[in-house]
Symmetry: C2
Subunit: 338 residues, 2 copies
């Protein structure tokens, strides 16, 4: 019955996504129009590169979260359109810089922008998008929301540097990993939800609730992402399977496995970790060891914990159809792991 | 007598620098303390890399400009400390990203940060500094000044991309060059002076005057920089002579030379342009051709025009010791070219 329970959860999760898409469609149309408009520039290469990435069609989960959070409250100010576009620009700036940092050749199922326009333009267009994000925030005239995003920008960069400093470190701990994903991933989900609540006119309680909800959702999201990297769903992810291992990223699956592995197993993992040239066979061996120690399963369990915390965080918010959708959507994030 | 007139100008310029340093010393002490404090992070590599660059001791011309502009007016708000530190962080973020983009190995007379910590950390610490810059602006509670800097950030990035798209383009025009240096260099000088005026409580006239002054000063600065790149003053610049040629940067000296060159000369230039491996001999040949067409001299003349415009821009501002210093300091920028 385990399988059908999981299947039922997945169905509930997918249903929630459809409901979220429907509930935010009108607002997201405005956001998408603003995103395209603000990716424009008289310097041709800027919109070419920016639109290539933007139109590759990520799911826009983060701006959708901003919009949904705004609609959760009674007094929407309209600022959510700018906030949501700013959040998506910050995310895309991070992706452009990450692909340079990770030397990735794929993103969203297509060659990464840097493979077409080069590392140089990817760094600079990332900077452009970051500037535009802040400019859109300035235009709303709301300094406090701008502070949330500016603070997020520094925390995200710190998290990425911390991740870099731990790359290939066999002594990395689950606490290190937690610190990395809080900073590099969950911070933007947290900020997206918080500024959404602010645009919705939430009081302090509502703002804190959405802040916590976004944080927990982001943690669950990254945990699942890090499982999928080893589950061979390159197509679905739009990236290459095993990238994390080859880049030496100390994600929870590898940290948990190393903690329980015998010397022979450790040696096999160490030989492939951080080696861009590691073979498919080596990768398969590592995944077999992970499964022997149930490291992927335990990582999914951890994601479930954060989903529970995300749902619990919404309790202080007045019950509504949107609150139910946000509560259910957390399940969707984890359903991706099956 | 030309030489001694130049020498006299240089002396006046250097005198102005000393006077500017003295007049801003107390304020700059606060700025420097803030810069060090805000370069800190619990992620060790962040302050290591940031301080390596920051303490290499650029002249801090941009933040000094912010402070000086604030002191030019009657009602300093105190915001200039944060504004000046934010301007310097934006500048340092740009340097970190530029060194990655240009694959530079030297900066401020030392190995570039990317040669020690890698491209990856340079990109990410640049992002961190940019985030901190905006955070410091947010903390002053002044949205309009923040808008000036956010707008500058996008224009600078656009300018860098435009420069990239023109690299090695033998058909690049003086107008292209003007567009590049306005965006990538003069915009930050302009913003530095403008937010300084705002911190000083300037009215619209004062703000516009400083905006124009900063713009013209920045244009003069970049023109001289682009001359020095061919004048073999690697030590003084802290970079390698001929870098611009080897990187294929279409600066005014090369654009003016190409316009007047005969086919044989064009061929020599084209053979070295954008070739990282171009020899010292090839570089010397190019410089000889440039001198034959007086391209470096004409570029310095152009810088002088902007110095004149910078000085004229200050006329609407009430006369004061600081106004005289700012007027004279413009001369210092060009005196570097002799």
């Amino acid at each position: 019955m385990v399988v059908s329970a999981a299947a039922a959860k997945e169905e509930a999760g997918l249903g929630a996504l459809d409901r979220l898409l429907a509930a935010t469609a009108a607002e997201m149309e405005k956001v998408n129009a603003l995103i395209l408009k603000r990716a424009d520039s008289h310097v041709e290469m800027v919109p070419q590169l920016a639109r290539y990435l933007i139109e590759a069609g990520g799911k826009r989960l983060r701006p959708m979260l901003t919009v949904a959070a705004a609609l959760l409250f009674d007094a929407p100010t309209g600022a959510q359109t700018n906030y949501a576009a700013a959040v998506e620009f910050m995310h895309n700036a991070t992706l452009l810089h990450d692909d340079v940092v990770d030397e990735s050749d794929m993103r969203r199922g297509r060659p990464a922008a840097r493979m077409i326009w080069g590392n140089q333009a990817s760094v600079l267009v990332g900077d452009f998008l970051l500037g535009q994000a802040f400019l859109m925030m300035v235009e709303t005239g709301k300094l406090d929301a701008l502070g949330v995003l500016a603070s997020a920008a520094t925390v995200i960069a710190e998290g990425e540097v911390f991740q870099l400093s731990k790359a290939g470190d066999l002594a990395a701990t689950p606490a290190d990993y937690d610190q990395v994903i809080r900073a590099k991933t969950a911070t933007l989900f947290q900020a997206a939800a918080e500024v959404g609540a602010m645009a919705g006119g939430a009081d302090e309680t509502g703002r804190a609730a959405l802040r916590e909800y976004g944080l927990q959702l982001g943690l669950a999201f990254q945990l699942v992402d890090d499982v999928l990297d080893y589950r061979g769903e390159a197509g679905a992810m739009g990236k290459n399977t095993g990238d994390d291992l080859r880049e030496g990223k100390m994600t929870l699956p590898v940290i948990l496995t190393l903690a329980d592995a015998n010397p022979a197993e450790r040696e096999i993992i160490a030989a492939a970790l951080g080696k861009p040239e590691a073979s498919e066979t080596a990768l398969d061996q590592v995944v077999a060891i992970m499964n022997r120690h149930n490291a992927l399963g335990r990582t999914v369990d951890k994601a479930h914990e954060h989903v529970r915390l995300a749902r619990a965080a919404l309790e202080p918010v007045k019950a509504s159809g949107m609150r139910t959708i946000l509560s259910d959507i957390a399940e969707f994030y984890v359903s991706r792991a099956y």
